[in-house]
């Protein structure tokens, strides 16, 4: 495994040591049956949200799951041993969850969040802010390392390579704080990786040549169908995007969490519309089995659900 060199920029001095050293100090793996219990409200700040097949998974002082889209939350485990910044799941791998953590690297669960194990020896020992699993290949993983950039694994996390520096916004690199693999053809022999930052969203083809704006239709996005120009086009604000999510089966429809609420695009990011303003910087998840089922949660644990692709929202209720 090749590790990055830290001398070039001061930001890289934040990163040191071997990822394995930190990962080795992770919380002991194993299910925690005593933690499991009846439905109740999570204590602590909600930090991550994902759908594992049809089950909602929530990180907040432990891992919680809900079989009914958030109506009933069941404590699953004490979690991976550190605050979870992001969760990722893949519809082809039910039960597998990846957790990007602040201090124990990338953690993996193969049992829906009951037990957790180090998943990424070789990553820099720095906080991980986001994780995504490629929609076209569950062995391809992407992780955002704070102060550093995007790392990629093509073997399910056994080995990692630095893939791309961070997006440049107003001539300053910004951290990636949300990641989504988008299965639309990039025109460069692959697909897209979308990223949320403190200053809007960006995207890069998975050959990692260049970060681009979501609205770009430049010469290097060839081969993709572009939406008809809208003028004036409703753009995604250049504000903090803390969540980006989609159902793999509908890659042109994405949801983004911003301070102003839930935003939705139906054209891969060219144009956006705010569809719910009730929650501040919501975490978002789309049910891969039902692309119209969208769940939003704020840090305080308030959960809203949409069953019509974001048009209307309500507190989740058991079916």
């Amino acid at each position: 495994m090749t590790f990055i060199r830290f001398s070039a920029l001061s930001r890289r001095r934040l990163i040191g040591g071997l990822g394995a050293a930190v990962l080795g100090a992770a919380a002991p793996p194993g299910a925690l049956p005593a933690f499991a219990g009846t439905s109740r409200r999570p204590s602590g700040r909600v930090t991550a949200l994902a759908f594992d097949q049809g089950a909602l998974v929530l990180a907040a002082a432990g891992i919680w799951t809900s079989p009914d889209g958030g109506a009933n939350l069941l404590p699953r485990s004490q979690g991976p041993g550190a605050p979870v910044a992001a969760l990722a799941a893949h519809p082809d791998r039910p039960g597998m969850l990846l957790a990007a953590t602040a201090s124990v690297g990338l953690m993996r669960s193969e049992d829906g969040g009951s037990s957790w194990h180090p998943a990424a020896p070789g990553l820099p020992a720095a906080p991980l802010d986001a994780v995504a699993i490629a929609t076209h290949d569950p062995l391809t993983l992407y992780v955002a390392v704070r102060g550093d950039g995007l790392w990629q694994s093509n073997d399910g996390g056994k080995s990692w390579d630095f893939a791309m520096d961070r997006p440049l916004v107003d001539k300053v690199e910004v951290d990636v704080q949300a990641l989504a693999s988008v299965g639309s053809l990039s025109g460069m022999g692959g697909y897209w990786v979308y990223a949320g930052t403190a200053k809007g969203a960006s995207r890069v083809p998975d050959c990692f040549c260049r970060w681009q704006t979501l609205e770009s239709a430049d010469a290097m996005t060839t081969g993709t169908a572009k939406p008809a120009p809208v003028d004036p086009a409703p753009r995604l604000p250049h504000l903090s995007v803390t969540s980006l999510t989609l159902a793999p089966s509908v890659p042109e429809v994405l949801f983004a969490g911003l301070p102003s609420g839930v935003w939705r695009t139906r054209d891969s990011g060219s144009t956006w519309k705010i569809v719910n303003g009730a929650l501040t910087s919501p975490l978002l998840a789309v049910d891969p089995l039902d692309p119209n089922h969208v769940v939003a949660a704020d840090a305080g644990g308030t959960i809203l659900s949409s069953r019509d692709g974001g048009a209307t929202w309500a507190a989740p209720s058991a079916a």
Binding site: G149, L168, K171, M188, G189, D218, A219, T222, G223
Partner: protein, 142 residues
Amino acid sequence: MKAMILVAAIAAAPMARATDISPETIQQGQALYATNCATCHGASLQGQPDWKRRLANGRMPAPPHDVTGHTWHHSDRDLFNLTKLGVAAVVGDGYESDMPGFGGKLSDEEIRAVLDYIKSTWPARTQEAQAKITAADKAAQP
């Protein structure tokens, strides 16, 4: 938008697969590459060191043109335009790059020869993948 119009105005003649190119053309391209490109992209097409990380000026280093880079993910049209016009002109939107346009220095045929040489160094599988990207690009053009 300006860059887009500029790019669209250029008739990017189709480039053949490297296996269809004469040895003389590849030899010519190799010589031109050594003179015009190797300083940044490396004599062995290896790119600048640590090429995935920005330079201090915020620009990206010159990437490899061998199979470890992303050159082969670009269509023939993109490669031609990037070389002739430079990255900043093609991308637009104020994007900054150290890659200049070589249109004032190399003829279109010479640019194609350089690209043919680069492509000739790729494994057959990579050449095929790049040919598919080119075909998709052509199909998408109006």
